[in-house]
Symmetry: none
Amino acid sequence: MTDTARSRAILTTASRLFAEKGYGNATTSEIARAAGVAEGTLYHHFGSKDGIFLTLFDETIDGFLAGIEELLGRRTTGRETLAALARFLFDYVSRHQERYLILLRDFPVHLTVQQFAKGSPQREKLDRVTELFSRVLARGKADGTLELPFPVRETAEMLRGTFYGTTRLKMLGLIQAPFPRLGRMAESYWLKALASRRAPKTPRRTP
Amino acid sequence: MTDTARSRAILTTASRLFAEKGYGNATTSEIARAAGVAEGTLYHHFGSKDGIFLTLFDETIDGFLAGIEELLGRRTTGRETLAALARFLFDYVSRHQERYLILLRDFPVHLTVQQFAKGSPQREKLDRVTELFSRVLARGKADGTLELPFPVRETAEMLRGTFYGTTRLKMLGLIQAPFPRLGRMAESYWLKALASRRAPKTPRRTP
Amino acid sequence: MTDTARSRAILTTASRLFAEKGYGNATTSEIARAAGVAEGTLYHHFGSKDGIFLTLFDETIDGFLAGIEELLGRRTTGRETLAALARFLFDYVSRHQERYLILLRDFPVHLTVQQFAKGSPQREKLDRVTELFSRVLARGKADGTLELPFPVRETAEMLRGTFYGTTRLKMLGLIQAPFPRLGRMAESYWLKALASRRAPKTPRRTP
Amino acid sequence: MTDTARSRAILTTASRLFAEKGYGNATTSEIARAAGVAEGTLYHHFGSKDGIFLTLFDETIDGFLAGIEELLGRRTTGRETLAALARFLFDYVSRHQERYLILLRDFPVHLTVQQFAKGSPQREKLDRVTELFSRVLARGKADGTLELPFPVRETAEMLRGTFYGTTRLKMLGLIQAPFPRLGRMAESYWLKALASRRAPKTPRRTP
DNA sequence: GATGAATGAGTGTTCATTCAT
DNA sequence: TATGAATGAACACTCATTCAT
């Protein structure tokens, strides 16, 4: 469809410009020009500059959440799921760097803390990340493959912080190690910190 | 000095307003009004709005770096230094939340994109953080109290990412666990992931 | 006809929205949406946003003029016609408040400045109002039931101003008295100001 | 003062442009250019385009209210005050046509009925007009020089409507009679409608 | 006739910075 | 040193109108 083609062109262009210059420094007229559409067309399709941003946000995080859910669907042990999670996370971000950069760099800054309300769909998606991390840990706790000296939820929050912070510093150029290495390190250290040293309660594969 | 009193008023006010509304949403006229000075006075003292920000940045990070250096100066074992580091980091951020919020929330987006050059004094201070983390780990590797399956530098980067990400998510309201709990969790998990399970090469206290 | 049904829906919707928010604040897309038609359909039927307005204007003022002409057709004395006019005017406006509000509130500012040329059909209708007022007064002057110390035309202009201003202030919420009261007051004061105190030249009822 | 000179230049220019093209059609950049100042200066002094308008409004209506109050201060009989009021009103408007045109033509239209709240200073000034009209009538009722078959307040509303409507239609070009003539007609007809035909209760001059 | 996606000139407003006093 | 009035380029956004289908 022409419609989709134009929307897509706007999203692609905006994604690039946001990544290059930051959300605040990319102007709507610039995006329109680069996308080959009139400025009004931006507003016809997305309602506002924020609307473009939030569409990119949604698309990016949706794929991200789906990936984690897919891992959980495999029904491997908690330990194995955690290992797979570490590999997936850094791999996913590595493969979608541009989109992820925008999300990581620009999101919470321009939407003020207050505006970023608890009930918004975006906020719910962000909360869902911690929820999925929790499910991985809970599975390991249940099947005895993981050992947590702290509550599941709070450990999940810290785990997420590790991933988030490492990725963000990497994107900001403050970390030199390449993404694949970061993934392997995360897998190794997370397991050292969390894997049970005793034999699991249940057989290797959960039913 | 009157001069210093005015500068300090500006910094204090700016710090509060940046924290409340974000760097981009706090205007210079607003800062001047709230600080009880003329708008031009801001420019006499700090040259630009960015100048105010960078002064706050410097002050905040200087205390932070000094704190870590002080830890290293105690010459405890690597393992003990790492434990103390975890406690110090979250405690420090907790005690300077306002300043830190600005640094964590506003800094990178605003100055990072291109302009945040490798040679700048601020960049060097940021790099110094990883360097100090590395020294903690290197000490543990040398005295046998820590065990690193990956290079010191890269492990330091990940460690820093953990701290940075956890703190930032906390500041953005995406983490519920309170700061002291985060500190205890970091200490516990970092040691589980990095502490040597064998007896240390050297006696407990380095001479 | 489908055509007429659509036109009518557009006019009804536009009338409501103009009254609610003012001509300038009601958008064509909003009117189209509320009327259940496509935006382009507005242009097929009325050519422009102004076209919709002018159609409403014509419909409203046509009924108004017809009402006054009907009064004149009754061939009562000038005094009686003037009394009937006062009652009719406020009653008519009261019964068509929505339409009249638009005409009174939005018309002149929007089309008057320059563009509201002497020759336009709308201008002629507006001029016709004063003309009909003049005919009422002229009749009274002729039959001796009214007594005018000033020329008929100019008195008619002032009379019209009274009606127009009272109505407009009422619509703008600056007058508290209800419409029926305004009608009774107009009738009373107009007669006090204009009715002849001597016996009429002609018998009560004109042949 | 330079300050006042610039403000005044802006007000004078805006007044002219609003009168020429209407509030909505005069742009801020146009006003700034014509006034010989930067566009930002408009906002420095008046905060918004509306702010300029409201300043003009206040200045115009303040002189108007002061004029009526001065009449009331003379303590002549109600009848004489009413006659003086009629002459003053049309004379005042005639002498400040440009300013008055803006007020009459543009005011209630662009500030929506809802926004034009009861408590606003502007609304209070408008309400004060009717109040002063009432005081004129009340004086005449008290001293027996005026005779009102309807309540003072409502008669004042109608009187005001007469003045307002006549003036507005004149400004819109729908009335041909010149201002001085309108003043004389108002005086004559108002007295005919309201003056007592009996001897006044009190001597001619109120103490 | 009917549609509605696309248009783009135009708008009011912002705000970091300057500079004469 | 301190002031604050003045600046003006830049911005996100609006909306009546068009036209290919």
